[in-house]
């Protein structure tokens, strides 16, 4: 089953309350996905270097030592804070060199997301516990997408939960299942895309990463995904400036969108939208199958 939710603010009116508005939306989708939950929040953008969300299984991991090490080894600046098992690192160097350094020296540190603005936080457990542990209600930002999981295609693990990072400041959440993920995973592996789970959504994420590497725009990558991914799905893709929504050509999986002057919200079910301000008078509709919807600041769709 699974539930997906997204909230994109058109202006800065609710930026201070993004987490607070989003918390009940994610919890409302518990019935569709009680085994894991996660979200990708965009805000607190760095102008120089990059921002990485890192995770270590040990909550008492010495992040300060890692920060010092990166500072010295890469001769750069590091600013960091911890949130549960996750730490957000703002590094003066570019994301690739930090990721390379971690891959060579710290296998136990997992890179959840990389970019200028994105932070991906996800865990196994009930959505209400997860939003509590990450203190989502206190978070600020411009947009956020989230997922509540009811696993069907792979194990209930943190790695198998959503959102999946698909590149710098990009991520994906998915409701549905892909039937050609095994073959596609093999093909993508040959192209050098790495996978860490048997999860089908990770393959879709890997496919988007691959298309974007090939020079596709986000829109082109999604057009190609519609041709290549076989199965039933509603996808929401978080980008640095907004989000995109796409449903499979026969629209098997639910999705509803609500729009006001201040925000665009999407969810698997309307129930997740009822706590938003002004929802009574919002324009509420169902996205059409195989049509790519994009909302980004600075662009009209």
């Amino acid at each position: 089953m699974c539930g997906i939710v997204g909230l994109y603010l058109k202006n800065d009116k609710y930026e201070g309350e993004l987490g607070k508005l989003f918390t009940p939306m994610l919890i409302a989708m518990t019935e569709r996905g009680p085994d894991s939950a996660g979200f990708a929040i965009y805000g607190d953008e760095v102008t120089e270097g990059c921002k990485l969300t890192l995770r270590h299984e040990d909550e008492n991991f010495d992040w300060q030592a890692l920060a010092d090490e990166i500072k010295t080894s890469l001769n750069t600046t590091v600013d960091w804070f911890q949130n549960s098992k996750v730490a957000v690192f703002k590094v003066g160097a570019d994301a690739e060199s930090v990721e390379d350094y971690l891959a060579s020296n710290h296998h136990d540190v997992m890179v959840m997301s990389a970019g200028k603005s994105i932070e991906i936080l996800k865990e196994v457990g009930l959505p209400e516990h997860i939003v509590d542990s990450f203190k989502l209600s206190q978070m600020k930002g411009s947009h956020i997408i989230g997922h509540t999981r009811m696993a069907t295609e792979s194990a209930v693990t943190m790695e198998g939960s959503h959102p999946f990072s698909t590149g710098l400041d990009l991520c994906l959440v998915h409701n549905g299942s892909f039937s050609n993920h095994n073959r596609l995973r093999q093909e993508l592996k040959r192209e050098g895309i790495e996978f860490s789970t048997e999860n089908d959504t990770e393959v879709a994420a890997g496919y988007l990463t691959y298309r974007l590497q090939q020079g596709d725009s986000l829109n082109e990558a999604l057009e190609n995904a519609l041709q290549t991914l076989d199965g039933f799905y509603t996808l929401t893709i978080g980008t640095k400036d907004g989000f995109a929504v796409v449903r499979d050509p026969i629209a098997c999986k639910p999705a509803v969108i609500a729009e006001t002057d201040d925000y665009v919200a999407m969810a698997s079910e309307y129930q997740a939208l009822t706590t938003l301000p002004g929802i009574e008078n919002a324009k509420v509709w169902e996205p059409e199958p195989a049509r790519i919807y994009v909302w980004e600041r600075g662009t009209t769709h």
Binding site: I250, A251, E269, L273, E286, P289
Partner: protein, 241 residues
């Protein structure tokens, strides 16, 4: 406990259920109980907020007003009741309805009126995909447009669409009658446009009258039906049984 019983009793008597404080299960039980002992004919449901299964399985001539948006399967299996959703409705509104009237003031999601045997479903906005899928006698009026695969395997009843229809309209159709005023993106297998004869104008006029639709002229509509060329229509295949 006493307080709860009192609250329930008064709700049953005055017919107002507030789903912000009462459960859908309580509401539906109270509606089902009306079949055995009628205490109230006018019902109001407050704060539906997209909850599923509101007013499902009603089996009595009641008037039920749902004041807001409904989730999945609202008014499913309805018998006799007149149910109005003053908002949008989720998937499967009035699915398997037997009789009565269901009116959605806003849009409806996919599979509106699916497999319904009778009654009248009016959607004042748009309907999503598979509107009237496998309909078995219900009459459906959509004032807006319908999505793809509407009336798929429609067996009986009328689907009238005042807007446009999506892909594969009436695929594998049996005997349901389809009328569309706007464009049809594509027709499904074995569905063809048919001549609009006087009896069809009459049929559509009567349907609009029942549905309270006054701003449509049946003459503007085109009729679609089954070409009766698929396997089940071939007498040669009868030998398989």
């Amino acid at each position: 406990m006493t307080t709860n019983n009192l609250a329930e009793k008064s709700a049953t008597e005055n017919g107002v259920y507030d789903l912000a404080v009462q459960s859908v299960r309580e509401l539906n039980q109270a509606l089902h109980d009306q079949r055995h002992q009628l205490t109230c004919t006018e019902w109001k449901v407050l704060n539906p907020k997209g909850q599923h299964n509101i007013a499902v399985g009603v089996d009595k001539k009641l008037t039920i007003d749902i004041q807001g948006h409904a989730g999945y399967y609202c008014a499913g299996m309805n018998k006799e009741a007149d149910i109005t959703v003053h908002g949008h409705a989720g998937q499967g509104v009035a699915e398997n309805m037997m009789s009565g009237t269901v009116r959605v003031k806003g849009n409806a999601s996919s599979s509106a009126g699916a497999t319904a045997h009778g009654g009248l479903l009016i959607i004042e906005g748009d309907a999503g995909s598979r509107c009237g899928i496998s309909m078995k006698g219900v009459d459906i009026v959509v004032k807006g447009s319908v999505g793809h695969m509407s009336c798929f395997m429609g067996q009986a009843g009328i689907l009238a669409v005042c807007g446009d229809a999506g892909d594969a309209l009436g695929d594998s159709l049996y005997e349901a009658h389809i009328y569309v005023k706007g464009s049809v993106k594509s027709l499904g297998a074995d569905c063809i446009e048919k001549e609009m004869r006087p009896e069809h104008i009459e049929e559509l006029t009567a349907l609009f009258e029942r549905a309270g639709v006054t701003d449509q002229d049946p003459k503007d509509f085109k009729r679609y039906g089954s070409a009766r060329q698929l396997y089940n229509f071939k007498v040669d295949n009868a030998a398989a049984y």
